[in-house]
Amino acid sequence: MPLILTEEQTMLKDAADGFLAEHAPISHLRHLRDSKDADGVSRDLWRAFGEMGFAGVIIPEEHGGSGLGAVEAGVVAEALGRTLTPSPFFGSSVLAARVLSDAASADQQAWLPRIAAGEAILSLAVDEGPKHQPARITTTAERSGNGFKLNGAKGFVLDGHIADALIVAAKTGAGTTLFLIDARTSGVEIERTVMVDAHNAARVTLTDVQVDADAVLGAVDGGEAALESALNLGRACVAAGLIGAGDQAFLSTVEYLRTRKQFGKAIGEFQALQHRAAHLFTELEIAKAAVLAALQRIDAGTEKADLAVSVAKAKAGRVAELAVQEAVQMHGGVGMTDEYDVGLFMKRVRVLNELLGDAGFHAERIARAGGY
């Protein structure tokens, strides 16, 4: 398959870019932040996402979604990265929707149409410490009565403060089990954590949370495959978000190089800056190839697609990091001001880098798979 977007995918990209530019440009993020919005995301925008087919991009048509694949989800994620738009997209439309698509049909029917419509917000609760280490979770679920009793603490739960339900990964003896838990269940304590990029996550404490056996998604002790599959899709989409944010910061910087004058000429005429911009362009193009390839391989079910995802997440992370640092530096003093947008890109990239495993986490996976 050619490593470029198809005509339909390009149309989706244009639609997503156009929609966000009109309805949720960066001023939208600023408004939510500066007004200290109670939700931190716009529910109207989320419903509009539903109408546009973005919220249900990977959800099957029979559940009201668009029935598309990872590449299309990545296209939407990249667009969101360009406008820095806060939205429950990663948590609900990617991670939760992917986990649910392997679940029992009752769970699918209960939630997928509502996610696709931009009505429900779900969050995946995996991380526990400051770093993404899904293999080391310590939250437990013990058999209790007719179901399970959960104890543990989760963090970096995307939009968990406004979630209707949480998908919690917990240890059940030897294996990992995924539980779908109503956010209002007794013993669930949720603290909103406003992040550096003005997007939101939550810390979730589970204290003797009693759930019925039907809260289990998939099989008891059998949650690892579904979790890993959702995490990989999520990582590839976050990588696409990194490309969106990094590339947009780069484009603003190139524009600034063309217009900002010092010493009587555009600063873009100075070779010291030209070479840095050209290097950054190169890195971004190479990262774009890695991200698109990972998304395509997820769709194709290619063997070792997870390694392609790690390459993509690590590469996009490093490159976006470089892009936002260069953006601030080349903008000079104004790059440090809150008024200019470049700082917002730097903050968003820091968060996306940490989300679902940073470059070090993914490099470790590459090294392990490479037998060293």
């Binding site: 050619p2 490593l3 470029i4 190139v254 190089l257 063309r258 000429k265 555009a266 873009g268 005429e269 070779q271 030209q274 070479h275 911009a277 050209a278 290097h279 362009f281 190169t282 890195e283 193009e285 190479i286 990262a287 774009k288 190839a289 890695a290 698109l292 390839a293 392609a308 790690s310 390459v311 993509a312 690590a314 590469k315 070090g360 993914h362 490099a363 470790e364 590459i366 090294a367 392990r368 490479g370 037998g371 060293y372």
Partner: protein
């Protein structure tokens, strides 16, 4: 089965039947490469056979049209052929500046007669070409070249000197930039001509590099007769041909960023694993993983650029991006290979070190970011043609 799946099955069967065992597995060293030509040398008779059967099928130049001896494959089929060759670890049947550089330029600028004459013998590995571009006074400023071609009616007489001519001492023919109008602005007085290295007046002198090897030559032209029919493209517009060819050369040099064994394996062979199954050199291990990520991403980027070119979504200047990144990547790879090899990799003459192969290869890569246009020149091109920065 789709057509492509059928093609894959047939290709796999054909390769299994025709790729000799001796031609599978990594090359021991660069000297074992097959370059073809009148004075071709082969490591084994099997290597000769492998070049010949692939050449007959046109699969040494899979995407060239069949009427010029090429394989006539689509881009997707060529990708399948490549992946099937990698599957059995097949060595490249033929390394060739004719295939990598001259051929694409001839396909674009050559006359029908020139294509019919030169391309099939390139595909079959019968004629080995070299490139006459750089001169002592024209390196990064290539268009400042001074080798003169004087018009003598039905032919030119060429005088001058080239330098860094790769394998000029082993090549049969040269594609060469000469100044045909000394009075025109420098880019507008250059022509692109072809001639036989056996023509009287052509001499070559190998240059010994820091690697101890001599892949490059100085090449001298002393009243060399060049026939007018061997002009490629328009008189005095050779710079257009030269630039198009440079794009292919740059892509080729860039592709070196994706060659050789996985660096993790190289390091494991040298250093072994600790009890947790990791390389016992954590700092080196991290650098290797970062390199392998970049190599994987770069490989995909080459594929993407090819697809973009095919879909006419990018400027040909994109080759500068691949050249810049791939050559820097290859230098990084060899720095790590030396670190992984430690003092073993420092041995220069021993059989154990295969006469210092690692060290010599490492040193050779330092030219990657100079030859075919320096990294700095590539960055200039990107700034000017891809970013349209002012004054670039």
């Amino acid at each position: 089965m789709t057509d492509l799946e059928t093609f894959r099955a047939e290709t796999r069967a054909w390769l299994e039947a025709n790729c000799p065992a001796e031609c599978r597995g990594p090359l021991d060293n660069d000297e074992d490469r097959v370059w073809g030509g009148r004075n071709a040398t082969f490591k084994t008779p099997a290597h000769k056979r492998w070049m010949e059967v692939m050449g007959e099928r046109g699969w040494t130049a899979p995407e060239w049209p069949t009427e010029y001896g090429g394989g006539g494959l689509t881009r997707e089929q060529a990708k399948v052929l490549g992946s099937e060759m990698r599957r059995i670890d097949a060595q490249s049947p033929l390394s060739s500046f004719g295939i990598w550089m001259l051929g694409p330029a001839l396909l674009q600028f050559g006359t029908e007669e020139q294509k019919k004459r030169f391309l099939p013998e390139i595909v079959r590995g019968e004629i080995r070409w070299c490139q006459g571009y750089s001169e002592p006074g024209a390196g990064s400023d290539l268009a400042g070249l001074q080798t003169r071609a004087e018009d003598r009616g039905d032919h030119w007489i060429v005088n001058g000197q080239k330098v860094w001519t790769s394998y000029a001492d082993q090549a049969d023919w040269i594609f060469c930039l000469v100044r045909t109008d000394p009075d025109a602005p420098k880019h507008l007085g250059i022509s692109f001509v072809l001639f036989d290295m056996a023509t009287p007046g052509v001499t070559t002198r190998p240059i010994t590099l820091i690697s101890g090897k001599s892949p490059f030559c100085e090449t001298f032209f002393d009243d060399v007769r060049v026939e007018k029919e061997n002009l490629v493209g328009t008189l005095n517009r050779g710079w257009d041909v030269a630039k198009a060819l440079l794009a292919h050369e740059r892509t080729m040099i860039g592709a070196m960023g994706d060659m050789g064994r996985p660096m993790g394996q190289v390091a494991v062979d040298s250093l072994g694993l600790d009890e947790t199954g990791r390389l016992d050199e954590p700092m080196l291990r991290a650098r290797i993983a970062e390199l392998e990520i970049d190599v994987a991403a770069f490989r995909l980027s080459m594929e993407r650029v090819g697809d973009q070119v095919k879909a006419r979504q990018v400027s040909p200047a994109i080759a500068s991006m691949l050249k810049y990144y791939g050559s820097e990547l290859n230098k990084r790879r060899h720095e790590l290979a030396m670190a992984a090899g430690g003092s073993d990799a420092l041995e220069w003459e021993s059989d154990r070190s295969r006469k210092g192969t690692a060290a010599r290869d490492w040193l050779r890569t330092k030219a990657n970011s100079i030859e075919g246009g320096t990294s700095e020149v590539q960055l200039n091109i990107i700034a000017k043609h891809l970013l349209q920065l002012p004054g670039a």
